[in-house]
């Protein structure tokens, strides 16, 4: 326990259930050891899958194919609209179709290193192994990946990788992969193996006899509170970046499902590991509702700069070359504009903090294509980036062929999430967590094009095996305790009633904005002991005010979007607090987590492997969270400090 910050240290986590032996053999070993469910029994086993993104969509479809009775839930009006649809850049796979030296081992190595040595070797190795099957599966489903003239698949290099292993479908890779998973899901719905519940929001987990046995959901159209029971529950509910209010996530992305599970006993791992993406369109005003990503691929040809002198408000074209600072090229001559996301983001923040930012509020830097247009011609640039340029112009009203884009970092992805073992099972037996909702594979920093890979690896290939092993012991889980159901339902009803009857003077959105701003300022791109303590003081005050002064219109009886939002904001408050505690306790810098106190002489992140080479898994406790450490061992990839100079 440290002064005013309440947490205690509990037992370490000793067993992650990864098999022993050479890393190449572990997944095979696990698959062979996994018990099988006999086909006739599968039909009698019900699995709930919450979420229909790449992770949940692929999982529900595959479990349906295997013959389980699946119930699938999402909050949108169709499973096809999950946030995965928005992914632009691509998906990694160790196919080595180019013969450029890629291999499963290299993808594993890059991902462990990219994660700044805070991910588990066994999990990442499996991810790299399975990556090749994902591409096969997607192509067979009709996903129209980019191809070359010979008819074979095209790839590109992405996020600073030295090999070309990123498969893509123009700027819409997530859309095409999700539509593939969605079509498989719809096939199972038609076949009767999957029962789909759209416009249903999960608000509580039912735990009975120590096992996850169901969920409480709200039918968002009728307002009805329903309980669905099952033999196992899978959460695939995505990331929680919207705790910052402004992020590149879809508006509905939330933490509610995983937070409720956390409250019921699931450990929450590395909550402070968030990824800030360097190339997003800057905020234009107070009404801003979300931020739009401009694909990382733009940094292949765009040059990042700011005026050399602070307060220089000339038009970019009027600033002569000699008075510009191409700061990434200057500071990182080896990687230049292609440094990893965390480094590019922080560098942009630094120049803006120095008063050299451009655009409204000085929170922006230029991404300039003039050189690329001069070198390649406008047509070639248009071929490569045309749709992104159009999107930029639509949003800002500026033409990037003529004037440089303005970009600024924005919250993009959350590496943290519910703790899971090698089988993707949380600390609540029968509760499995897949996709961005878990913490498993990206350590402290996710490399580009690896979230899509992870979501589909989990859903198509890993979960169906490991869940089967769990369920093979089932049939014997017994009846669900009625008291557990009643209690879960009451929690849900009470929260809704409480929100509706405050009838205060501020909207939930206005609290969400304020919370987000606070998180961005104090627990964003740079964190300090002082800023985090400030946040930890302010969050409970603001939460208290929220619960006494929020105004939620209408009732719980029908479609009430303001009520939905208020419920999500309430959970974000609690999560925000845990994120700050986690960030405060981790006094090292690593990946996306930059503690100003822990930097080297050049201002680069300084890891502290001696004290922090562990996963911080937090248990919810009434008197403050309890920290369980899972030590990370690196037997294959040697721990080194990252350097991009």
């Amino acid at each position: 326990m440290k002064d005013n910050v309440n947490y205690t240290v509990g037992e370490p986590i000793r067993d992650t259930k990864a098999p022993e032996g050479p890393i190449e053999d572990r997944w095979d070993t696990r698959r062979f050891q996994a018990k099988l469910v006999n086909p006739a029994n599968k039909r009698k086993l019900t699995v709930i899958v919450v979420g229909t993104g790449l992770a949940g969509g692929s999982a529900a479809a595959t479990l349906g194919e295997l013959g389980y009775k699946v119930k699938s839930f999402c909050y949108q009006d169709s499973p096809r609209r999950a946030h995965s649809i928005a992914a632009q850049g691509g998906i990694n796979a160790a196919k080595n179709y180019r013969g450029d030296g890629d291999s499963v081992y290299r993808l594993f190595y890059d991902t462990v290193k990219g994660g700044d040595f805070r991910a588990r070797e066994s999990n990442v190795y499996r991810l790299a192994q399975v990556s090749v099957n994902i591409i096969d599966q997607a192509v067979a489903q009709g996903v129209p990946f980019a191809r070359e003239y010979g008819g074979l698949l095209d790839t590109r290099s992405f996020g600073g990788a030295q090999v070309s292993r990123t498969f893509y479908a123009r700027g819409q890779t997530g859309q095409q992969l999700l539509l593939g998973a969605y079509s498989a899901l719809e096939r199972q719905i038609a076949a009767g193996t999957v029962e789909m519940h759209t416009r249903h929001e999960m608000l509580e987990l039912v735990v009975s006899g120590g096992r996850a046995r169901g969920v409480v959901v709200r039918d968002m159209v009728t307002g009805e509170i329903e309980t669905h029971l099952a033999d196992a529950v899978v959460l695939a509910t995505g990331g929680y970046g919207n705790v910052f209010f402004l992020s590149t996530n879809a508006k509905g992305c939330n933490t509610t499902a995983i937070w409720r599970a956390h409250r019921r006993g699931a450990l929450f791992a590395n909550p402070c590991f968030t990824q800030i993406h360097p190339t997003c369109i800057p905020v234009s005003g107070d009404y801003q509702s979300k931020l739009t990503l401009m694909s990382e691929s733009l940094r292949n040809d765009g040059r990042v700069w700011v005026p050399a002198r602070g307060g220089d408000d000339r038009r970019p074209a009027d600033i002569p070359e000699g008075e510009r600072d191409y700061y990434l090229e200057r500071i990182y001559p080896a990687f230049g504009n292609l440094v990893p996301r965390d480094i590019a983001s922080r560098a942009a923040k630094n120049v803006c903090d120095e008063g050299r930012g451009v655009g409204p509020g000085g929170l922006g830097v230029y991404l300039d294509f003039a050189d690329a247009i001069g070198r390649l011609g406008r047509d070639a640039v248009e071929k490569k980036y045309g749709n992104l340029f159009e999107m930029y112009e639509r949003i800002t009203g500026e033409n990037p062929y003529e004037t440089p884009m303005r970009i600024y970092p924005a919250v993009h992805y959350t590496m943290g999430g519910l703790w899971v073992d090698y089988d993707l099972q949380s600390t609540i037996p029968g509760l499995f967590v897949i996709g961005e909702a878990n913490f498993s594979d990206h350590g402290a920093n996710r490399l580009g094009a690896s979230a899509l890979m992870q979501g589909l690896a989990d859903g198509y290939f890993v979960l169906p095996t490991t869940l089967g092993d769990y369920l093979a012991g089932a049939g014997g889980f017994g009846e669900v305790d009625e008291k557990a159901v009643a209690e879960a339902e009451i929690t849900v009803r009470e929260k809704i009633e409480k929100l509706l009857c405050v009838n205060g003077t501020r909207t939930a959105d206005s609290y969400h904005r304020e919370l987000g701003r606070l998180m961005w300022d104090y627990c964003g791109m740079e964190r300090t002991d002082e800023s985090l303590r400030k946040a930890l003081q302010r969050i409970p005050e603001l939460r208290e005010e929220f619960w006494n002064n929020v105004k939620v219109p209408g009732d719980g009886e029908g479609l009430n979007q303001a009520l939905e939002r208020a419920g999500r904001v309430a959970d974000f408050f609690d999560l925000a607090e845990l994120m700050c505690i986690d960030a405060l306790h981790r006094t090292e810098s690593c990946g996306g987590h930059f503690r100003a106190e822990s930097q080297d002489a050049d201002g680069e992140a300084l890891r502290d492997d001696e004290h922090f080479a562990y996963v911080a898994a937090w248990e919810w406790g009434p008197d403050g969270p309890v920290l369980h450490k899972e030590d990370l061992n690196y037997d294959y990839v040697k721990m080194t400090q990252r350097s991009y100079k």
Binding site: S78, I85, Y97, Q137, V139, G151, S183, T198, S289, Q561
Partner: protein, 246 residues
Amino acid sequence: MNLTLKIWRQNGPADRGRMVTYRVEDVSPDMSFLEMLDVLNERLILEGDDPVAFDHDCREGICGMCGMVINGVAHGEQRATTTCQLHMRHFEDGAVVTIEPWRAAPFPVVKDLVVDRSSFDRIIQAGGFISVPAGSAPDAHAIPVPKDDADAAFDAATCIGCGACVAACPNGSASLFTAAKITHLSLLPQGQPERASRAKAMVEQMDAEGFGGCTNTGECTAVCPKGIPLDTIARMNAEFLKASSK
């Protein structure tokens, strides 16, 4: 700038619904259309009124969740743009803007501007897939696909399932949506085994849902945010005929 909004308000499927007028002031030209509605809703909540319900999620023009008929045009007058990507700089100070939901029998209104598009999912269920269980796929390079075919399939596959084509069509036809999927899959070698059964089942489902027939007015392509071309419908009709004559 200041605007007058005339918004369709309807409490539920059973309610008859009506247009209600709202004034919005100090609208910034850099706001998106949905952000303008957010500002209105924040005010309505504080004034004790019921905020306007509308669907949205990604706000990037890709999830297909948003959709309103703005001044009589699905997704508004700017071409190839979803409602969420429409920005206020395209409106004039003092303008009157009417905002209505998609109107089509197979898209019943849930509330205000929110409609039920589950009929689209059922069209996909009828055959908008390639039957390939996870784990059974051959190596991705086993079947090369000519680049032109892959690109054409991609163009059709970009449909976001928003439903604007239906809302714009005088017949309330879902032909463009259905044709986009049939085209995508029939252009690829992987889609061949189920080609005929798919076209037949999807078209039949489309009819069963109560969508109207296509009379080639082209209103659908004109509003389609992804520019799905009209010739996909000709392809769908040809596929359907071929499948039915088998």
